[in-house]
Amino acid sequence: MNTTNPFDEIEQFLGRTPFAGERAWGRDLRTADIDVAEYDDEYVVMADLPGFDRDEIDVRAREDRLTIAAERDAEREDADRRYLRRERRHESVTRTVDLPTTARLDDATATYRHGVLTVTVPLDAVDADEGHRIDVN
């Protein structure tokens, strides 16, 4: 039986599910906030990943998709250590970004500083401004 619980609707309206933990006030705790900016010759993705080490961050580009994954050891909580508030994002965070077909994935670079990952993907210039040119024979 799968009756609709009226309280579910309230929860949905408020954008969160009590006790679920994955969402708080409409914010998905398993993803990272990103900026994606396109320039004429490159694509820049910046992701907020506070509190990670460089080697805990995995950046992969495959088939015009960029996947950012970060994972750190879980904070322990026991009888001696109680959370009075817990809003910070999860220990494991992933985010996928679609890249334009002109992206040169092999030449992509990534830096991590002050908890912000910046991935720069150069774009092939040809299509950027003029669209794809079709030769007339």
Binding site: P18, W25, A37, Y39, R82, L84, R86, E87, G115, T118
Partner: protein, 171 residues
């Protein structure tokens, strides 16, 4: 069925909402110009962890320098503020791909340097948060560190002895 009594959930919900609004009020009164963008918006995500001796506050401040971050103990609350010069710290076009808040990037979808934003989720250039501290702490012994965009403030709890005045060892 693992579900609890729905009324418990509502109570929990209202309690949480109360906390949110309390915080919002605190932000409005306590930190001047940094009014939240919309009700419930939270600039800085924090964890507050308590053990027997200390209360530890962890705050996510990605993209800020240690110099950009200010921590102050006001009454029974910790006020955390961060401010940097540029909006989201997107750097100008090519050159070095560091871009941690140094230069470039105006507001809006199309910027002077030709950037078109497909997504813009990252936080504001200045943020603040007031975190109520539920117990008396030793303000003088508080320490703070900043690493990888995470501020950690350690506040030693005041031992019960201090309330009774200074104790003198009996030999």
């Amino acid at each position: 069925m693992t579900r609890l009594d729905p009324f418990d959930e509502i109570e929990e919900l209202l309690e949480r909402m109360g906390r949110e609004f309390e915080e919002l009020g605190g932000t409005l009164e306590g930190t001047g110009p940094d009014v939240p963008r919309f009700p419930g918006a939270r600039d800085v995500d924090v964890d507050v962890v308590e053990d027997d001796e200390t209360i530890t506050v962890l705050a996510d401040l990605p993209g800020f320098d240690a110099d950009d971050v200010d921590v102050e103990l006001r009454d029974d609350a910790l006020v955390i503020t961060g401010s940097r010069e540029e909006s989201t710290g997107l750097h100008v076009a090519d050159e070095e791909p560091a871009g941690d808040g140094a230069d470039g990037g105006d507001e809006g979808d199309e910027t002077d340097d030709g950037a078109r934003y497909h997504r813009r989720e990252r936080r504001l250039s200045s943020v603040s948060r007031r975190v109520p501290i539920p117990e008396p702490i030793e303000a003088d012994a508080a320490t703070a560190s900043f690493d990888a965009g995470v501020l950690t403030v350690t506040l030693p709890k005041r031992s019960p002895d201090d309330d009774r005045g200074h104790t003198i060892d009996v030999n």
